[in-house]
Amino acid sequence: MSSVEPDQSAASGDLAVELVGITKRFPGVVANRDISLKVRSRTIHAIVGENGAGKSTLMKILYGVQAPDEGSITIEGRPVTLKSPTDAIDAGIGMVFQHFMLADNLTVLENVVLGAEKLHGIGDAARTKIREISAEYGLHVDPDELVADLGVGDRQRIEILKVLYRGARILILDEPTAVLVPQEVTELFDHLRGLKSEGLTVIFISHKLDEVLSVADDITVIRRGTTVAEVEPSSVTARELAELMVGSELPSPQTEESTVTDTVMLQLTDIDLGVPGQAKTLDQINLTIHAGEILGIAGVEGNGQAELVEVIMGMRRATSGAVYLEGEDITTAGVREIREAGVGYIPEDRHRHGLLLESPLWENVILGHQTQPPNAKGPLIDAAAAKADTETIVNQFDVRTPSISVTAGSLSGGNQQKLIIGREMSHTPRVLVAAHPTRGVDVGAQAAIWDLIKTARRNGMAVLLISADLEELVGLSDRIRVILRGSLSGDFDPEVVTKEQLGAAMTGADASEETAK
């Protein structure tokens, strides 16, 4: 596939955004290098690239958060210099961030006018304006509802409304589907098409290629900080697009022959977690994982996945119920005992739970295994042995680092994750709890991590895999269960289940048992 020059017939006056030769030098991370981007007015333009390719930097430049070192920005035919988001807003650019910036305890109206009080005041004028915008773009937003009562999709629409309220004509959406279930994604896309037909321009950042192909008019691919291709969705397949992103052959998770045994490694019985008088965070959780088995847990974030992991790892005590590790009751054991007993842990947020970012790699390899050989010698730390162990892990798990004494924070996300997995695997756990193991890592590392998990399974490990990536779950798991409002559904067979069925179970849209095997 060759780089396709964008539609030459489009007159430059028809361009909403034009970036020429944007370069941003940035210590440590991939910089933007000679980026060119042409976004036609009244289109949905997708920017795709793997994590760390430089998409975020580019968007920050476009939203005035960072200034480019070189290059020019033209908005609707006018050259601009964006020194701050205020400049960007004045130029008609609005940004909808991946993480919503809404105050739960305020109403929609209050959230929308916050910081933009000068536009239409904070009273009825503003309320009228919100209703107008909502009606015009079909956003179905009620200005007087409390944000706390709203779902994820509603909140996203409020974010969109917020930028429209500020007069944006060009909307940037950063990974807008990351937090949505499939049905909500469809809805969002309908809204985006609506915005387009009302004359707005949408720039849409994603690495989910199916979505991009279904909604975008134009696609720009970024790799290693520069634009490598401009394509039309009609002319590429998802696989071709992915290969453009990665620049090489693309791996995909594939289940191997079953290695499931009869030995129950991890068992949870009737686990409840919650405060009396409130909805339970975990409600009668029963699950069993056998040696050599991967159990996948699907679900929209915030339905109890994090709490489930914390209960298993001993970071949180269940209100009732019991946890057994190969028949041994570990319900009341502490994290250290559980880890010593052979439970490996790949945390969801590696920066918060998995690493000491300002410590060298070899100390990070000790973390979580302070009491275990080779790291400990009685009450002392055996630094020499830990360093040797780290060298082994770095080599064996292909952690790309110049040395084991650099800080963990200086590694890329994928290498950090490989270090964590290597650390956990090197202690040959009986059970591996992996929460979103490939989140935020590049495609190359993703494939490596999938391989590692499969190897673990082959070696008789029991793996609890929690992921938001349905493809990953389907590809790796022996069984999939869905968690919704603290309850687990029945088993789905990854061989036969469809994404729509999982999506339905994740939202509780219809009775999940029907599709359950």
């Binding site: 991370v29 250290r336 302070q370 009450p379």
Partner: protein, 371 residues
């Protein structure tokens, strides 16, 4: 190798930067106040006299202990402001115990020091327990405990006090000659008969213990891990509550040592003229020394130097010696800012180094493959 040198350079840059900024700001203050700038710096940068050198070393000995006590907490993100109260309660207990002379000579000294550590540890334990059981911030509880310590000690001091004829000060029973730690005579080296506290060895031992505990033990690892990221510490199996309690107790025990060089090497009793505020000075010294065993030693000496030479300000330069408090205050403030700046610079530098080294590796590999 070069990056190592650069790291050391960066580590020293922060305190150096802070001191330079403090000197500049102080100069501006002096100019605004119309004070003799040159005379002031002449007084403060004069080479200390032999007796001043001894006094600086002695003051540093005490400040260092206080700084280590604070640093143990700092390493865990615990702000033990209570070192001040802890050392006063502990010194008082030790003074009462040693003053009773139940034990002979050296045994009396050793047991009294242990009593002091235990008392300091107990006093700190209160704050630790309040934090883990009731979620009371240790900042609040230790400040309150400082007040309580003052009144409690004053109350008991009145009961334990021995009135010295003709004196308006009250103090505990003065230690017998054999319960004193002899000073180190340095007259062979320096032209003064003033002696260095014999318990300077206690300070040195505490410094070594601190370094060893922090860098070589599992406990030290857990302590640092908790300080860096409590969430990661919890996930790694560290019982953070237990760590809070243990490190508070440890901090308190070291705080208990702060008053020992004074008790056994200078005052020989605990009275109402005992030196107060050492715990707060320790916070500054720990901050300036970056909680590093050697860094704190250097900053303790600097602190002692400034304190000792400040006396000459009024006498030789006609400027209030409170100027030194201003300088010290600005140093601490600049240090906090400078460290944060340097810390970020260091992280950026390392990211860049790692990225460039990896790129170079790849290039080499590519060339090898090509060849």
């Amino acid at each position: 190798m070069r990056s190592n040198l650069r790291k050391i350079g960066l580590a020293l840059a922060a305190p150096a930067l802070a001191i330079v900024v403090a000197l500049l700001v102080t100069t501006i203050i002096l100019l605004l106040a119309g004070d003799p700038v040159v005379a002031v710096w002449q007084v403060l940068f004069k080479a200390p006299l032999p007796r001043q050198i001894v006094a600086i070393i002695n003051e540093a000995t005490v400040l260092y202990l206080s700084a280590v006590a604070v640093a143990i907490g700092f390493k865990m993100n615990l702000f033990n402001i209570g070192v001040d109260g802890q050392y006063r309660v502990a010194s008082f207990a030790a003074a009462v115990f040693a003053g009773a002379h139940w034990l002979p000579g050296w045994l009396n000294i050793i047991v009294a020091i242990l009593v002091s550590m235990a008392t300091g540890a107990l006093w700190a334990l209160i704050a630790g327990l309040l934090k883990v059981t009731r979620g009371v911030s240790e900042v609040i509880s230790t400040i309150m405990l400082n007040y309580i310590a003052t009144y409690l000690v004053a109350f008991f001091l009145k009961m334990a006090a021995v009135q010295v004829e003709g004196s308006n000060a009250i103090s505990t029973q003065v230690l017998a000659e054999d319960s004193r730690v002899p000073g180190i005579d340095v007259s062979w080296l320096l032209n003064t008969h003033n002696e260095i506290y014999g318990l300077i060895f206690l300070s040195i031992a505490v410094g070594i213990f601190y370094w060893f505990m922090l860098n070589k033990t599992r406990f030290g690892f857990d302590l640092r891990a908790t300080g860096q990221s409590e969430t990661a510490a919890v996930a790694s199996g560290i019982n953070v509550r237990k760590m809070v309690v243990i490190s508070m107790v440890m901090s308190g025990a070291v705080a208990g040592l702060v008053g020992m060089p004074l008790l056994f090497g200078q005052d020989y009793a605990y009275g109402d003229t005992v030196q107060a505020g050492l715990g707060f000075a320790g916070i500054s010294v720990a901050l300036l020394g970056r909680n590093h065993p050697i860094g704190m030693a250097v900053s303790a000496v600097l602190w002692g130097y400034l304190n000792q030479l400040s006396n000459g300000l009024q006498i030789s330069a006609g400027v209030s010696d409170r100027l030194v408090l201003i300088i010290q205050g600005i140093i601490v403030l600049s240090v906090v800012i400078a460290y944060e700046l340097i810390r970020r610079a260091k992280l950026r530098l390392e990211q860049r180094v790692v990225a460039s080294e990896l790129a170079q590796q790849e290039r080499v590999q590519a060339e090898e493959v090509a060849a």
